[in-house]
Assembly symmetry: C2
Homo-oligomer: 388 residues x 2
C-alpha cells in the first residue's frame, strides 16, 4: 500500500534509514510454530528510527499490513524517490514522533521483504521453500518479533501500533506478551475475519493458484504467476477502497475522455487504475507470500486462540492501554467489529480509548494523510508516556 | 443464479415448458448494433408460459440477469430436478401469475444459452465468433427482444420485469420503446454502474483473460479457461451476498468441523462454497459471454444514453408506471441508486411506486423467496391491469 506514501516537502522526514537483518533459530535450534512445525534459521529484516533512551522506555514497535515491509519511514539513499510506507505518520514531530520515540519495524515472518518466507532458501534443499514453507500464524509473526526485541535488548514496549493485519499483530502482542506492552494501538482491524473477508482472500488465493506459472508454488526458477497475483491484488484494492471513495476518485470517467472502445481495453479510469496496481504489485511482491499472509490473517481468531471462545475472556490477559480506531467507510473491517473488541476490553476494566474516524476512503484510510488520526495517536502516546 | 431456485412441492409449478428459437436479421439483412457494427443472423432462444389473451394485453416480458437464461420457470421434462431460475415468482397464483399473464423470457444477445453470442458460429468463418463477436449493449439486447415480440405479434407489454442486469433491460425498454411499456418493474438495479461495480466486473474479466486457455477468446476447439472463469464467478458471488448474509450462512465455520489444515485446502465453509460455485458455473457458462455481458452492464448509462447527461431528462421519454425495488443489504446496487432513479421519475410526474425491502441476503435477494416482493409485484400488476 506504499503507493499512497508521499514525500514530505517540509523537511520533516527521518531522512536516511538502514535495513538490517537479525537471524535466529539457527540449527540445531528452531522456532516452534503454532502448527507444531519447527522452523529455522529465521531471518528478520528490520529498521529502527530515533534514539533508544537510557532506560529503554521509549520503544514503539510498528507492525505492517499485507504488502508492507520494514521500511516504515525515511529513505534508503539520498536519491530515493519514495519514502517508507508510513512516512506521513512517522517522523520528527509527527503522530509517531521520532524525536521522542525509538521506532522498530520488522518485515513479518512469511513475507518477502527480507524476512524468512516461502521465497527464502530452504536449507534442507538448497532451493526456495515454495509450498514446503510451513503455514505461519499471526502468533508466529509476533513470536519472531519478540525474538528480535530480545536481541535488541528491549524488555518493554511503550506501544505497539499497526493497521489491518498489522492491527492483528498489535492485538496478538497485547495478549501473548501482556507484561511487555504498555500501550496498544490497533487500527482498522478485527479480532477475527468475517466470512466476507475470508471470501475475498480466498478468491485472491484462487486467482494465484489458477495461474499455471504458479506451479504449486514452485516457480522461483521459471516464469512467475504474475497474472494471477495481479488479479489477487486488484481484488485487494477493491476491498481497500469504498463505494464513495471510488466514486470520488474515478466515478465513470473514461480513460481516453472520449467514448467507449467497444472492445476489452480499459475504457474506464477505474479499470486502468486496477490494472496498473496489479502489474506494479507483481514487481515487488511474491505470490506465495500473498498466500501465506492472507492465510495467517484468515486463521487469526483472538476469541478462540486466547479466550476459549470468549472475546471477554481473551482480553482478560491484557494489561495494555488501548487506542482502537476504525473508519466509517471501511467495509473490510467495519466499525461494528472494533466496537465489539472495545466492549470486551472494557468488560475487563481496561483503559480503552475508541474513535471511529469519518473517512470516505475505506479500509486504506489509516495509510492516508489524516490530521485527526495523527493527533489522536500523538496525544495518546504522550499520555501513556507520562503515566508510565 | 439458478442455484437458489427450489422445486415447488405444493403443485403450483407451471410444469413442462419448451425452449424455442427465433432467428432474424438474416443476410442480407442485419441488425445494427449501438457500436455501429451490423450483426446477423441472430438467434434468440425464448420460452413462453401461460395464454396470450384475445386482445394480447396480458404480456409480461421477464428479462434475466448475468447468468440467467430463457428458462424462467417450470421444467423441460418430467424428470428435470431443477426448475427455471425464477420458479419462486412465476407460476399459477404466484407473484407473476401465469394463470393471468402470458410470460415471455428470452436469453439475452451475447449470452450462451441459445441466443447468439461469442460462442455461436460466425457465418463468415464457419467457426465460433470468439472476440470477433461485436461488443453489444443493453440497448442491443432490448432491440433483439423487440424483434422477438414483433415476431410473436405482440405490440404492447403489460409489464417488463427483471432484476440486476435484467433491471437495466427493464429501464432501457421503458425509454427505448416507451409506447409499448405499460408498466416496468426494475429490481435491485441501477441506471449506471458505480466505479465499484465496474471494478468488480473488471477484476472478473481480468481473471478470465489471465487464464492461458482463454487464448484471446479462441478456445472453442481446445481446453476452456475454466480456472479463470471460476475465479470470476467467485468474485461475483461475493458481490451478490452481503457481510451479514455471509455471517449467517458461513460465519467462520470450518469445513471439517475440526481444526485448521495448515495448508491451502479449503479450511472454512465459505471457501469451499466459493470453490463449488466457481467449478459448477464453468460447466454451464461461456467465459466470453461473461466478458461481453459484464461489459454491456458497465457501458449502460441511462443518463448519458437517453438524457444527454441528465437522469431527469432521460425519464422524460418514459410513459410506464414503475415499481422500483431495492434491498437494504445490496451493496452492488445500493438503495441510494434506486432512490435517485425514483426521484428522476417523479420529477417527470410518472406514476412510481418504490419499496426498499429489508433483506440480509444482499444483491441476490430478488432471486430468493420473499413474500413481500411477491405480493408487491402481484398487487402492482393487478392495479396496472385494472387501470389499463
Amino acid at each position: 500500500m506504499s503507493e499512497y506514501a508521499v514525500r514530505n516537502n517540509d523537511g520533516n522526514s527521518v531522512g536516511i534509514v538502514e535495513k538490517r537483518t537479525f537471524t535466529f533459530a539457527e540449527p540445531p535450534d528452531t522456532m516452534a510454530l503454532e502448527s507444531g512445525v519447527k522452523l529455522g534459521p529465521i531471518n528478520i529484516a528490520y529498521e529502527t528510527i530515533g534514539q533508544l533512551n537510557a532506560d529503554r522506555s521509549n520503544v514503539i514497535l510498528i507492525t505492517h499490513a499485507l504488502s508492507g515491509d520494514s521500511h516504515v519511514a525515511g529513505y534508503y539513499t539520498e536519491k530515493d524517490k519514495k519514502p517508507g510506507w508510513w512516512e506521513i505518520m512517522v517522523g520528527p514531530g509527527k503522530g509517531i514522533d521520532t524525536d521522542r520515540y525509538f521506532v522498530v519495524c520488522a518485515n513479518i515472518l512469511g513475507g518477502c521483504m527480507g524476512s524468512t518466507g516461502p521465497s527464502s532458501i530452504n536449507p534442507a534443499s538448497g532451493k526456495a521453500y515454495g509450498l514446503d514453507f510451513p503455514v505461519v500464524t499471526i502468533g508466529d509473526m509476533v513470536k519472531a518479533q519478540k525474538a528480535l526485541l530480545d536481541h535488541l535488548g528491549i524488555k518493554k514496549l511503550l506501544a505497539v501500533v499497526g493497521g489491518s493485519i498489522g492491527g492483528m499483530q498489535v492485538l496478538e502482542w497485547s495478549l501473548r506478551y501482556p507484561e511487555m506492552v504498555t500501550a496498544a494501538i490497533p487500527l482498522a482491524t478485527t479480532t477475527r475475519h468475517s466470512a466476507l473477508a475470508i471470501a475475498f482472500n480466498e478468491v485472491g488465493r484462487q486467482a494465484i493458484m489458477a495461474d499455471p506459472n504458479w506451479n504449486r508454488g514452485n516457480y522461483y526458477d521459471g516464469p512467475r504467476p504474475n497474472l494471477g497475483l495481479a488479479v489477487a491484488r486488484m481484488i485487494g484494492h477493491v476491498t481497500y477502497l469504498s463505494d464513495e471513495s471510488m466514486r470520488q476518485k474515478f466515478g465513470r470517467r473514461l480513460q481516453d475522455k472520449r467514448d467507449f472502445s467497444f472492445n476489452f481495453d480499459a475504457d474506464f479510469q477505474v479499470e486502468s487504475y486496477l490494472r496498473h496496481q496489479g502489474s506494479k504489485f507483481v514487481e515487488r511482491f511474491d505470490a506465495n507470500s500473498f498466500l501465506y499472509i492472507t492465510k495467517a490473517a484468515d486463521y487469526f481468531d483472538l476469541k478462540n486462540q486466547h479466550g476459549a471462545g470468549s472475546q471477554v475472556e481473551a482480553f482478560a490477559k491484557a494489561q495494555a492501554k488501548f487506542l482502537v480506531v476504525s473508519f466509517t467507510s471501511d467495509w473490510l473491517y467495519p466499525t461494528y467489529q472494533s466496537k465489539a473488541m472495545v466492549k470486551a476490553m472494557k468488560k475487563n476494566g481496561l483503559d480503552v480509548s475508541f474513535c471511529e474516524i469519518k473517512a470516505d476512503c475505506g479500509h486504506d484510510a489509516f495509510l492516508l494523510p489524516n490530521a485527526r488520526l495523527a493527533s489522536l495517536i500523538k496525544g495518546f502516546l504522550e499520555r501513556v508516556q507520562l503515566e508510565s
